[in-house]
C-alpha cells in the first residue's frame, strides 16, 4: 500500500505532527488501502483489465471492491473501472484515488481532480494532447508508451494489458501475481492469447522499472498467508451470487428479456443450462417472461425471472396473477435510474415503493433487498423456499451497483443453504376436483401439479371458490381475501431479524437498506477512525416491514440519519408510516451514482458538529 501512510479522510494541515505519527503507526489504518482506476473508451477492454487488476490484488491477499462505470453504448463514450484493494474487508468504492490509468485524455480531464495529493497518472504521452504544465503539480505523471509497446504484441488492443503491467510495477508487485491473474482472465482462451497478454504486461512492467527505478511509491505485495485468505475467496458480483443462490435454490426454469443490469443472469443461466439441467428461455417480451414462468411454476418447477424497472412495469399485471392463483415465483428486479429508459447503465434505489405497490388489489408478497454477496446468495435460496411455501411472489430488489460490482467473499457454505419444499400432494383415485384453495385447512393447502390424479383444480385469475371455479359471491370473496392476505402474519416469523452493526449506544444511527449497506459499512469504519461513534441498521427483508426492529432503532436513536439512493426517501417514508418517526436527517443521492463512504462521513461530520 502507500509507503507513506496517509490519512485520507482529513488531509487538512490542521492535523499536527503527533496526530500524523499516530495514524502512521496506528496499526489498523485506513491507509492500508489503495484505489486504482482505469479509464478509456468502450471497446478498449477496460472491464477485463479492471477485473485482472482486482484478481491480482486477491492473489496477493487483499480484499477488493470494484465497480465499472460505463454509458449505454458499445463503442466510444467514457468507461472506467475502479478497484479498491484493502488489507481489511472493503464494501464500497472510493471518491478519491491513488492511481489513475488513462488510456485516453478524457480520463485525465475528468478524473485528475479525484487524485490524492502525491497520486499518480499513468498515461501515454505520445498519444496525448494534455499540456502537463497546466496539470496538477502535486501528482506525478508516469509516461508509458502504451501504444508503441502494444504494437509488438498484437496492436492497439493490447494497450490495456501494457498499462496493467506498468501499474503493477509502480506498486512493486511481484510479476507472478499478475501472471496468475491473467491466467484467470484468459481462461478458456488459447495459450497464444494468454502468452501475448503476459508479454504485453511484462513490457509495461519492465518499462516502468527501467524508467522510474527511483520512484516506486506504492506497495501492493503478497500479504502473509495467515492474515488473509482472499486468494481462496470468491471474486464475484451480486448478479453472480444471486445466480449461484438460484441454482442452489433449485431453480429449474429461467426466463428473461435482456435488460441492464440483470442481462448477465440470462447469459449465465443459458451457459450453464446443460450442466445443471435447466430450461432457459429468452422470451419475446417481459409479459411473456412472467407468464411463462408462472406456467412453469404452476406445472411444478421452481422458476425465476429477472429484469429492471422497465421490464417490471410490463410484468405488473401478471405479478397480481401470481398472487391470485397462488403460484410461486421469484422475481429479481435490478433497479436502475428511471423513469422510462432513464440512465440504463447507472444505479438508483428508486423502485422500492413500486415493487411494494405494483399491481392492482391487495395481496401478499415478500420483498428482499440484499446488501452484500452473502445476502445475494443466501437470501435468494430463502426466496425460493418462501415462494414455494407460501405460494406467493418474492421480489429480490437489487440495483446496478450491487448487481455489477465485484467483491471478494468467502465461499458459501451449502449446508446453510438448503432447499425446503412443502409436502408433496398425494395422488388419489378420486375423480372429484380438489379443493386446492381450501378455506378450512391451513393457510396453504398442498398444491397438486398437473398430471397428478385426484388433484384437478383451476388456477384462476378471476376470484374463485376452493377448487378455483370463478365465483363472485361476497362471502367467498371475503374469505378468499383473508386466506391470501392472512399469510402475512406467518411471513414475519420466517424472516431473519435485522441487526444493528457498529457501536452500541452510538452517537449517530444510520438507517439504510439494500445496496447502501456497503458504503454505510465502510463509512462507519471511517467514522470510528475519526472518533465519531456510529452504528447502522440495514434492512434486507423490506416487506413485510420489520416494524419492531426498526421502531426500537429509531426511538432509541441520538442522531438518526437516513441514507438512501433515491430522491424522495422512499424507505424513510415507510419508516414513518410504520413507526410514526420522521427521520430528521436524510442523506439522499439520485445522480445515478451510489454513495461514496467519504460523502456519508462528510455529511455526518456536519450533523455532529452542528447538532
Amino acid at each position: 500500500m502507500r509507503k507513506s501512510a496517509k490519512w485520507h479522510w482529513k488531509r487538512s494541515s490542521s492535523l499536527d505532527l503527533c496526530d500524523k505519527l499516530k495514524l502512521i503507526l496506528g496499526g489498523r489504518n485506513l491507509s492500508e488501502e489503495l484505489v486504482w482506476r482505469i479509464g478509456g473508451e468502450a471497446g478498449m477492454g477496460i472491464k477485463a483489465i479492471g477485473a485482472t487488476f482486482a484478481r491480482m490484488c486477491t492473489a496477493a491477499g487483499y480484499h477488493v471492491f470494484d465497480e465499472a462505470e460505463y454509458p449505454s453504448l458499445i463503442r466510444g463514450g467514457h468507461n472506467t473501472h475502479q478497484v479498491v484493494a484493502s488489507t481489511v474487508a472493503v464494501h464500497a468504492g472510493r471518491e478519491k484515488i491513488d492511481v489513475l490509468v488513462a488510456l485516453n485524455d478524457e480520463t485525465i480531464t475528468r478524473h485528475v481532480q479525484e487524485l490524492f495529493p502525491k497520486g499518480g497518472v499513468v498515461f501515454d504521452q505520445a498519444r496525448s494532447k494534455i499540456d502537463l504544465q497546466t496539470q496538477r503539480s502535486d501528482v506525478t505523471f508516469y509516461d508509458v508508451p502504451f501504444v508503441e509497446l502494444a504494437a509488438q504484441y498484437g496492436g492497439d488492443l493490447m494497450r490495456n494489458t501494457v498499462s496493467l503491467g506498468a501499474t503493477a510495477a509502480l506498486f512493486d508487485t511481484d510479476f507472478r501475481l499478475l501472471t496468475e491473474a491473467l491466467k484467470i482472465t484468459f481462461k478458456g482462451k488459447s495459450a497464444q492469447i494468454l502468452k501475448q497478454n503476459a508479454l504485453a504486461a511484462q513490457s509495461g512492467y519492465e518499462y516502468v522499472r527501467r524508467k522510474y527505478p527511483q520512484h516506486i511509491p506504492w506497495k501492493l505485495i503478497r500479504q502473509p498467508a495467515e492474515s488473509s485468505l482472499t486468494h481462496r475467496h470468491l471474486y464475484l458480483t451480486g448478479n453472480d451470487a444471486l445466480a449461484l443462490g438460484a441454482l442452489r435454490g433449485g431453480m429449474s426454469f429461467y426466463a428473461a428479456y435482456p435488460m441492464t443490469p440483470t442481462s448477465a443472469l440470462l447469459e449465465f443461466f443459458a451457459e450453464h443450462a446443460p450442466r445443471f439441467g435447466l430450461v432457459v428461455k429468452h422470451a419475446e417480451d417481459e409479459i411473456a417472461v412472467i407468464n411463462m414462468a408462472l406456467g412453469a411454476s404452476y406445472a411444478g418447477v421452481r422458476s425465476m425471472i429477472a429484469t429492471s424497472g422497465g421490464g417490471f412495469s410490463l410484468m405488473v399485471e401478471a405479478l397480481g396473477l401470481a398472487a391470485m392463483t397462488e403460484t410461486p415465483l421469484v422475481i429479481n428486479l435490478g433497479q436502475r435510474p428511471g423513469p422510462a429508459t432513464g440512465l440504463p447503465t447507472w444505479t438508483e434505489q428508486g423502485d422500492l415503493l413500486f415493487a411494494l405497490h405494483a399491481a392492482q388489489g391487495d395481496f401478499p408478497r415478500f420483498i428482499v433487498a440484499p446488501g452484500d454477496m452473502n445476502e445475494c446468495f443466501f437470501e435468494t435460496v430463502r426466496a425460493f423456499n418462501l415462494a414455494e411455501k407460501y405460494e406467493v411472489p418474492v421480489i429480490i430488489l437489487t440495483d446496478k451497483y450491487i448487481a455489477e460490482s465485484h467483491h471478494d467473499t468467502p465461499e458459501f457454505s451449502l449446508e446453510e443453504a438448503a432447499v425446503m419444499r412443502p409436502p408433496a400432494f398425494v395422488s388419489s383415485s378420486s375423480d372429484e376436483p380438489y379443493e386446492r384453495y381450501s378455506l378450512h385447512s391451513a393457510q396453504t393447502s398442498t398444491r397438486p401439479f398437473p398430471g397428478t390424479k385426484g388433484g384437478i383444480y383451476v388456477a384462476n385469475s378471476d376470484e374463485h371458490d376452493e377448487v378455483g371455479y370463478s365465483e363472485e359471491d361476497a362471502t367467498i370473496r371475503t374469505a378468499m381475501m383473508q386466506r391470501r392476505l392472512g399469510k402475512l402474519t406467518a411471513f414475519e416469523k420466517e424472516l431473519p431479524q435485522p441487526v444493528v452493526e457498529g457501536e452500541p449506544n452510538a452517537q449517530v444511527n444510520i438507517l439504510c437498506w439494500g445496496s447502501t449497506k456497503g458504503p454505510v459499512r465502510d463509512a462507519i469504519r471511517l467514522l470510528a477512525e475519526k472518533k465519531i461513534s456510529a452504528n447502522f441498521l440495514n434492512i434486507t427483508w423490506m416487506y413485510p416491514f420489520p416494524e419492531a426492529a426498526v421502531a426500537e432503532f429509531v426511538h432509541n436513536a441520538h442522531h438518526l440519519v437516513l441514507v438512501e439512493n433515491n430522491y424522495s426517501g422512499q424507505f424513510g417514508s415507510l419508516v414513518q408510516l410504520h413507526t410514526g418517526k420522521k427521520i430528521p436527517y436524510r442523506l439522499l443521492k439520485y445522480s445515478g451514482r451510489q454513495f461514496y463512504p467519504e460523502e456519508i462521513v462528510r455529511k455526518i461530520e456536519e450533523i455532529v458538529t452542528h447538532a
Partner: protein
C-alpha cells in the same frame, strides 16, 4: 356481461358427450348467452378429448379472458385461467416444465389476435406442441360487443359506430407466414367438424391453430350462423409444405372462407428440441441438493 338471463336454447347440452368414458363437465353450468357459439366449442372440445381417450388429469387447458375464457369453470381438467391476451406464454411455460401434458389453449379473438397477437406470432415460430383454439366472433363479447381485430372493414359496433377503418387480422395467413405447422378453421355451429378439427390439432405434434368461426348471438348481428354458412366452404384436404404458397393463396381469399385443415407440416416441436427435455420432464429434475461447488472456480 349479458348472461344474467337463463339460456333459452342450449345447443350443446351435457348429453352431448354421453357415451364417452370421461365426464368432462364440472359442477358449474355454463353462463353463456342462449345461442352463443361458445356452447358449440365447449361441446366439440369435450368430444375431441373423449375421442382421443384422454384422462382429465393429463390435460391442462389454459384460458384467456373473455366469454371464451369463461369456459375455465366448465371443463373438468387441470386449468389455468390467465390474463387477457396472455394465455399462450403460460401454456408454453407449462409445456417446458412438463412436456408429458396435453396442453390446450382457449382464447378469444380480441384476446389472441388483438392484445395477445405478439405472443401468437412467437408461439407459431416456436412450434410448441400446443393446440390453440380461438373463438373468432369479430367482437369483444365480454366487454359487451366492441369491434375485434378480425371484424371486416366497415363493421359497425359501439366502438366503431362509423365502421372499422383498418383491415382485419388474417390469422390463417399470419400463421402460415410465421412458420405454423397446423393451420385450421372450423365453425362453432358445426360441432362434429369442429370436434374432428380439434382432435386432429391435439394429435398434431406441434403448434395447431384452430380458428373457430364463432357466432356471437348477442353482439354480432352480421356474422351470424347463417352468414358463416354462406361465406364458408369446406376444404378437401390440407396443403403440405410443397404447396405452402397455395395454402397462403387460400388463406388470403376474401368473400368466401375455407374451413378445415388448410395447412399441415411435420416438424419437430419446440419442446422436442430443447436439450434438457430429452432427459425427461423438467418437473422431475432433482433439486434437493444441487451441488454448485464446482462453479466456485469460475469466480476467482
Amino acid at each position: 356481461m349479458p348472461n344474467a338471463q337463463k339460456p333459452l336454447t342450449i345447443i350443446a347440452p351435457k348429453t352431448a358427450v354421453k357415451g364417452g368414458k370421461q365426464n368432462w363437465n364440472t359442477r358449474v353450468f355454463p353462463t353463456w348467452c342462449a345461442g352463443c357459439g361458445d356452447w358449440g366449442v365447449w361441446a366439440a372440445l369435450k368430444q375431441a378429448l373423449t375421442n382421443l381417450g384422454k384422462k382429465p388429469e393429463e390435460v391442462v387447458i389454459v384460458y384467456g379472458v373473455g366469454c371464451s375464457g369463461n369456459m375455465t369453470s366448465f371443463v373438468n381438467t387441470y386449468a389455468f385461467h390467465g390474463l387477457h391476451g396472455r394465455a399462450l406464454p403460460v401454456a408454453e411455460g407449462i409445456k417446458l416444465a412438463n412436456n408429458k401434458l396435453t396442453v390446450i389453449v382457449v382464447a378469444g379473438d380480441g384476446d389472441g389476435y388483438g392484445i395477445g397477437v405478439g405472443h401468437f406470432i412467437h408461439a407459431l415460430r416456436r412450434n410448441f406442441d400446443l393446440t390453440y383454439i380461438v373463438h373468432n366472433n369479430a367482437v369483444y363479447g365480454l366487454t359487451t360487443g366492441q369491434t375485434s381485430p378480425t371484424a371486416l372493414k366497415g363493421f359497425k359496433s359501439k366502438s366503431t359506430p362509423e365502421g372499422v377503418i383498418e383491415e382485419p387480422v388474417n390469422p390463417l395467413a399470419l400463421a402460415i407466414a410465421t412458420g405454423a405447422t397446423f393451420v385450421s378453421r372450423s365453425q362453432a355451429a358445426d360441432i362434429p367438424h369442429l370436434a374432428q378439427t380439434i382432435e386432429a390439432g391435439i394429435k398434431h405434434n406441434g403448434f395447431s391453430l384452430v380458428d373457430v368461426f364463432q357466432h356471437c348471438a348477442t353482439f354480432n348481428k352480421v356474422n351470424t350462423v347463417q352468414w358463416y354458412r354462406e361465406h364458408a366452404y369446406k376444404l378437401e384436404k390440407p396443403f403440405g409444405p410443397q404447396e405452402k404458397t397455395k395454402a397462403m393463396g387460400k388463406a388470403l381469399e376474401t368473400g368466401r372462407y375455407p374451413v378445415g385443415v388448410l395447412y399441415h407440416e411435420e416438424r419437430p416441436a419446440y419442446d422436442d428440441e430443447v436439450t434438457e427435455l430429452k432427459k425427461g420432464p423438467l418437473v422431475e429434475r432433482d433439486i434437493s441438493n444441487v451441488d454448485i461447488t464446482p462453479l466456485f472456480d469460475e469466480f476467482r
